[in-house]
Amino acid sequence: MADINGSMSANKFDLPVDSEHKAKTLKILSFKQPHMRSFHLAWISFFTCFISTFAAAPLVPIIRDNLNLTRSDIGNAGVASVSGSIASRLIMGVICDLIAPRYGCAFLNLLTAPVVFSVAFISSAQGYIAVRFMIGFSLATFVSCQYWTSVMFTSSIIGTVNGVAGGWGDMGGGVTQLLMPFLFHMITTYGGATPFTAWRIAFFIPGWLHIIIGVMVLALGQDFPDGNLGALQKSGDVAKDKFSKVLKHAVTNYRTWVFFLLYGFSMGVELCINNVIAEYFYDRFNLKLHTAGIIAATFGMANFAARPLGGYASDVASRKFGMRGRLWVLWIVQTLGGVFCIWLGRANSLSVAIASMILFSIGAQAACGATYGIIPFVSRRSLGLISGLTGAGGNFGGGLTQLIFFSTTRFSTASGLTYMGAMAVACTIPVAVVHFPQWGSMFLPPSKKGGGCTEESYYSSEWNEEERMKGLHHGSVKFAENSRSERGSRHEIAAAVTPPGYNSTPAHVV
């Protein structure tokens, strides 16, 4: 366990660390405290929530007969399952900023378990929609997962780390399409239960997973590289912040809203597809439900590699081109994702449809990874809330696209896919307006006014004079130092010197 009394040498950590004690490498096969253990707990808890949120989708053919659902009921339940977390992701963002990720994550998992078990009681369409809505709240673990990895790993690899954690978590949406039918089959064949009971029993497994991971997070997890939040606040290493300030700095930063929109058309599109793709292949190409389920699972499982790929591409681009490279990578992959979605809608043969679906999944999921390669830099003070807002934007976009394109009979599902792809391409253009004064944007170089803007000036501007006098901004200044990697290789020479007035290393830290 990390020593909380203050003599924290870098030797205590299993991995090489920076000045904030964030790890500089990712050692996937390790489970050691604090970095890798937190990494694994974070992504597994998020993975579990994805499993239970979409657990109903492959079982809909059974559930719709049990509960006498209509097409609109099924559509509404799909929208409900992703809308619940619009609010919960925001709240989780705040909790992470004020209370820290471990409790937020465990809290959500252990309170989602009862909701999952409550499927035993569902007897009507209203009950079904309500339960799916409440299970959907658990998707907020995305925010705690990304926040937790962002405080454990350093800026230069954050794209890759967030991409792997997010991607492996999102994979739950694909795994569930295989897991739930498998459990259902086992329970009906070997358990002898009738179909209308068996699907309810199948849900117990995701319920148990929630309990197991929730307990593990509490027992084995740690909030920050140096210890848990309670202990760190007492020793004065982490300042206690105020909600109103965190909110103000998140909401008044225009970049937050650009990413809110953008993420709606990478993650949002992905969530929407998780709900409609199996049925689309089943109906359009007359496949067996089992086969359609496997294809649907492939879409979700591509997250295993596609999202990390996006994060990694973002990191690689940033080595040479800095933040500008990250922005370009995001625009390229997200636009390509939209283009392949258009192609998927227009595909008339099964092989072309599968090929375009795979390319589309890679594009959209890489875009998700690339987005979270940029988010940790938008703000240091309000990291949690901005992560939450972006995540909420993803759900909002998902619910919106499901409602506009896949809940009416005005156009076919195929046309819906084409229009959704076109909308995604159009809504990715705003990434060009995101400008960091110290690093530039897609088309503009770093601002030159006032002798140049630095990372320190950007991140310290979130604290006012009074707060700076109290030294509350030191965490941000340390982060700013470490984020100089975002200048790219061309500006490395100027990077090493800390500008005057920003003495980041407080006296008492060795």
């Binding site: 097409r71 465990a106 078990f117 035993a120 009681f121 209308f196 309990i211 307990v215 027992a219």
Partner: protein, 206 residues
Amino acid sequence: MAILQRFLLASVFVSCLVATCYGGVSFKSLHPTLTVTATHKEGVLKAGLDNITVTWALDPSAPAGTDASYKTIKVKLCYAPVSQVDRGWRKTKDDLTKDKTCSHKIVAKPYIAGGAVATATWTVQRDVPTAKYFVRAYAHNASDMEVAYGQTTSTEKKTNLFDIEAVTGRHVSLDIASICFSAFSVVSLFGFFFLERRKTRIAEAK
């Protein structure tokens, strides 16, 4: 003559392929030559509990030789139009390989020529959903293609429909298990929370 025979054989072969290319038999092409009845108790039938007795026979007024190709009779439970509204997975389509109207099999028996009335009794299965139904029997030929049918309702499928009520799928044991595990989950969360609060308070007091 030999050439003509070969040509005829080839065209028959090709037309068989064409038939399989274009999918299954068209329902509109079938004639209602079977008389089908279904008897059951009054009121709503309960899945898993109540029985339906079906009978089928060749319509006495059908011309002789109509049933020459009938090999098997498959009797099915079919959705009435009112239960198909807003439920695309129960849609009626003319192509019988794509038609989803009759998704529940009641019984399949070999066809016995001679005009006798065949019967079968069936307990409503536990996976039958709550809906309005009628019964239809298809006559299949040796290659298992539909060649004729008969149903208990009119052509518009509005008369002589009956209701089936599905099982709920709920069980008291499942409810109890659900409550127990949920309680365990909530207790673990608050247990850990208070335990940790106590630990930090003790550490503070030192």
